[in-house]
């Protein structure tokens, strides 16, 4: 097994044993959807305007929870030192952590999405397939920068507090583009959809590339 695949596999095995990350992300995401529906009590046309925002706020908050857990798990018991011994570059280590975080986030989101569909009286049709596509692109953008930021925040005194402070302003482009794209798909107004999706693609590409090169400055033996 290649070292990069081995790190992803190690994360999956840990998750299968303790089931902490996905379950906490999932529960938190569902709670956000429920609380927003209490807060706004959307009806009819309002629901169409608010629903994409609610979905992406739930994804974002749940994602931050998962990212916080991902890197603090490595730093808490000095496990990172072991990872640094792996015969791969720091950039590849970053890609392995991104892959793990992406898998966990996608699993949680793909469970949150049907609940969101049911709560908002939407239909399980082609639109939802498009929303899944947008979720994949948005999540990739979110975890590509989130993995780097979680490594930065893991070094601070208030790691749980610091990640949202760093993550929320930097992922504004992802959240805006994803909310707009989801709204367009659900509302059948897809004029600027290619632009929105390309913005999500650009964000993910820029941050995957930049983080790949700067990750070595964040980890030291």
């Amino acid at each position: 097994m290649k070292p990069l695949t081995a790190i992803v596999f190690k994360d999956i095995v840990i998750e299968l044993r303790n089931k902490e990350t996905i379950s906490s992300m999932l529960l938190f995401g569902l709670l956000v959807i429920v609380i927003f529906n209490f807060a706004f009590v959307p009806s009819g046309a309002e629901r169409g305007l608010i629903a994409p925002g609610i979905l992406w706020v739930a994804y974002s908050f749940a994602g931050i929870l998962g990212l916080n857990r991902s890197l603090s798990m490595e730093t808490d018991n000095e496990c990172l030192q072991g990872l640094l011994l792996a015969p791969i570059t720091r950039g590849d280590l970053y890609l392995a952590k991104v892959a793990g975080n992406f898998i966990f986030a996608m699993i949680a989101e793909l469970i949150i999405l049907p609940v969101f569909v049911v709560f908002n009286n939407l239909h399980f049709d082609m639109k939802i397939v498009w929303v899944i596509g947008i979720t994949i692109l948005g999540t990739l953008g979110f975890v590509s920068i989130g993995t780097t930021l979680s490594m930065i925040s893991a070094h601070t005194r208030m790691k749980e507090v610091m990640l949202p402070i760093l993550q929320i302003p930097t992922t504004v482009p992802v959240v805006i583009s994803a909310v707009e794209a989801t709204g367009m798909v659900l509302g059948e107004e897809a004029q600027t959809l290619p632009f929105t999706l390309s913005l999500l693609g650009v964000f993910s590409t820029v941050y995957l590339t930049a983080s790949y090169f700067v990750f070595e400055y964040l980890v030291e033996e």
Binding site: S153, I165, Y217
Partner: protein
């Protein structure tokens, strides 16, 4: 000595710019005297993005050279970024209340400016919670670099929203020649003020680093 000259020059330029903005420039026909805030608001907005450019440049250079002077450039520029993005939002709000009837709307440009200010503040929050000087420089540099890469993408993404902010008239030739002169004077004055504040802050930051080093030597 150079800094004192820059300070005097910026003071003189501010006084001249005030005369140009408040007396020399003609009163705009629809908004009246209220439009004169434009001579303060726009240069501050431009300078906030200049600060972001310097933060990004300082961070990039620190990553390449590993010299603390580039980290100082980044965080001193970020401090001025907080200052100018805040003043540009405040002057914008003073203009918006009578014209739009609201202090704040989640309009494209306003939101872009707010997110920029939040990125600067996040950068400082991170620095505040990092322990040693070297680690502080290294980790905040990575965040500063990534955050400043975010600024142009953020700007474009926010344009997905419709904007009610006035469109630029500076490059489009829609500006009265006297107004243009007053605006150029204003931007020169603010540019000099920025240069003065940055050089002054950099000198203080260097002294702070020297004091910290001496304290460490003494403790050892």
């Amino acid at each position: 000595m150079g800094r004192q000259i820059l300070g005097v020059l910026s003071l003189v330029a501010i006084l001249i710019a005030l005369y140009f903005a408040l007396v020399y420039a003609p009163t705009e026909s629809t908004m009246g005297p209220l439009q004169r805030i434009f001579y303060f608001h726009v240069p501050q907005g431009i300078l906030s993005y200049t600060c972001a450019l310097f933060v990004g440049f300082g961070c990039l250079m620190f990553l390449v050279k590993n010299d603390l002077k580039w980290d100082r450039l980044a965080y001193c520029s970020a401090e001025l970024g907080v200052l100018f993005s805040t003043t540009s939002m405040v002057t914008g709000m003073i203009w918006a209340k009578p014209v739009w009837g609201a202090w704040w709307v989640f309009d494209a440009r306003l939101t872009a400016q707010l997110v920029l200010a939040l990125l600067f503040v996040s950068y400082f929050m991170l620095r505040a919670y990092l322990p040693e000087r070297e680690k502080k420089a290294r980790l905040s540099t990575v965040f500063g670099f990534l955050a400043m890469l975010d600024v142009p993408i953020n700007y474009f993404s926010i344009w997905l929203w419709t904007t009610q902010h006035p469109q630029p008239v500076i490059g489009g030739g829609g500006m009265d020649p006297q107004m243009r002169t007053a605006f150029l004077m204003s931007i020169t004055a603010f540019g000099l003020l920025y240069a003065y504040l940055l050089t002054h802050r950099l000198a203080i930051a260097k002294l702070e680093d020297e004091v910290e080093y001496l304290e460490q030597v003494q403790a050892a």
